[in-house]
């Protein structure tokens, strides 16, 4: 633990909204990880519920389909005893042409305290937060910009296995260009002191990899060499039609994780993936189901980390 509890047990949690992780310090990250550990403890109890957000209303506003993230948030909200409203875009007034500003005001008029939003446009979460006077916003993914809770749950999972993350080597393989997960993960793992190497087809790399503070290796074997953790990004098969890679088989042959590729990493290197996995594309079944894979643990971590965020940002007087 790098952050010691203060004498009074009080900390100053300065993040009201969680839009992106670029303004988070290493101390913020470690503090959240520690709090998530206690939240995970609640998940193991016979009664998986604590009354901490009783009377608070959470609205899960999803403009893009994402069953996993929504269910994970919903579970976290329910375990903290919040009231949960799921607002999906199909059939909503948004489809009838309501602007997001009006949606924000409507949510607030209904008494929402916490809004969890997934949206296809970069900056949507920031915009929503700027229009809300009272309620807070947790970004569940905005376009290709950020997916902070995914990065935090990845960090939590890695921390539980690797301990102090300072100086640990992380290889991130796949479509970095279109991935908000990659962007948030790079920020989170870099802030906490990891060395991050990116790999994948050059057509799927941002132009300024160095600006992210990372090294790019076209050859994934070089990228995973000596890695403590290998993170595989989901390949959207539609990208093939955009001509970013020749075929699914070709992608798998070059950048897919199999036993051969993993033999370049450290012997007990962790394998992570944000899910849902494409077997035989970015990951072979032998790896997805192998002993190094912590993919299902990531799912569990997601609930714990979201509970910790909801508690720290969503409770109290604002």
């Amino acid at each position: 633990m790098n952050v010691m509890p203060s004498e009074t047990g009080q900390i100053v949690w300065r993040h009201r909204n969680v839009i992106d992780l670029d303004n988070w310090t290493k101390e913020d990250l470690y503090f959240l990880l520690d709090q998530a550990r206690h939240m995970e403890n609640v998940m193991d109890r016979p009664i998986k519920k604590v009354p901490v957000l009783r009377g608070k209303m959470c609205v899960n506003l999803f403009f893009e389909n994402s069953t996993r993230t929504r269910v994970s948030f919903e579970l976290a909200e329910k375990m903290l005893s919040a009231d949960v409203v799921n607002w999906s875009v199909t059939g909503s007034s948004f489809a009838k042409g309501e602007t997001m500003r009006d949606t924000a005001w409507t949510l607030e008029a209904m008494g929402a305290d916490i809004v969890v939003m997934r949206h296809g446009s970069v900056g949507a979460a920031q915009y929503l937060a700027s229009k809300l006077k009272r309620a807070i916003v947790l970004n569940a993914g905005d376009g290709t910009h950020a997916h902070p809770t995914q990065a935090l749950l990845d960090l939590y999972t890695a921390w539980k296995h690797l301990g102090d993350l300072n100086g640990k080597r992380i290889a991130l393989v796949g479509d970095v260009l279109h991935s908000r997960v990659a962007r948030s993960d790079v920020i989170a793992f870099k802030t906490i002191g990891c060395d991050v190497v990116l790999s994948g087809p050059p057509t799927m790399m941002p132009r300024d990899v160095e600006a992210l503070g990372c090294r790019y290796e076209k050859d994934p074997r070089k990228a995973v060499e000596g890695a403590d953790m290998v993170y595989l990004l989901r390949i959207q098969k539609e990208r093939q039609q955009d001509g970013l890679f020749p075929s699914v088989d070709e992608y798998h042959k070059w950048w897919g994780a199999d036993n051969k590729l993993m033999s370049y990493a450290k012997p007990d290197a962790l394998v992570m993936h944000p899910g849902p996995i494409n077997r035989g594309v970015e990951i072979a079944s032998e790896i997805a189901d192998g002993h190094q894979s912590v993919i299902l643990e990531q799912v569990r971590s997601g609930v714990a980390i979201r509970m910790a965020l909801l508690y720290l940002c969503g409770g109290g007087v604002r």
């Binding site: 203060s6 709090q35 206690h38 009664i47 604590v50 109290g316």
Partner: protein
């Protein structure tokens, strides 16, 4: 937060040691032995006090009583009135508490709200046979119908005063002092 000015020492390290020993003995007496007994310390100082009681009972009775720790943060009734969220600590029970006699240990009993939260937290962990409360200091000013079954010392206080039970594990030394809020 207003600064605290130390007014007087209520217990020396030696006094505190005697009180803890008496509480340990009373717990065993009330429980009519060490059967089905679990000590539960409330974070943070109650945890260390419970461990000391565990050690004394082990010395006297030759039995190591299971000892758990309870964090009540997520059960507080004042969370919506606080500006900053308090930090969550660990809750660990050495075994299933169903059917067991629980002895809740805390340093100071004041409004009774911490104990109320602790009782709610314990209900969520299982159906214990009974719960009893042991504290080092009862300083009065209860806001809820809660009382201590075992009490080290009753100290009438004014609401401007603060009682600090110090334990060496956290504070570097053992003692009990009464402080006043510096206006």
């Amino acid at each position: 937060m207003a600064k605290l000015k130390e007014k007087a020492q209520l217990m020396s390290a030696q006094d505190l040691k005697r009180v803890i020993r008496r509480i340990a003995n009373e717990i065993v007496e009330r429980n009519k032995g060490t059967e089905k007994m679990i000590l539960v310390g409330i974070h943070r100082r109650g945890v260390y006090l419970a461990r000391r009681i565990q050690k004394i009972i082990e010395e006297v009775e030759g039995v190591k009583i299971p000892c758990g720790e309870l964090d009540i943060t997520l059960y507080r009734d004042d969370l919506t009135t606080l500006f900053e969220q308090p930090m969550v600590h660990s809750t660990r029970m050495p075994q299933d508490i169903s059917g067991q006699n629980l002895y809740l240990i805390d340093d100071v009993l004041y409004t009774g709200r911490t104990v109320r939260a602790a009782l709610e937290a314990l209900v969520d962990l299982g159906r214990s046979s009974q719960v009893q409360l042991a504290v080092i200091i009862d300083r009065g000013h209860r806001e809820l119908p809660i009382h201590a079954d075992i009490c080290g010392k009753y100290v009438p206080t004014s609401s401007d005063e603060v009682i600090e039970v110090k334990v060496s594990e956290i504070d570097g030394k053992d003692e009990v002092v009464i402080c006043e809020r510096d206006a």
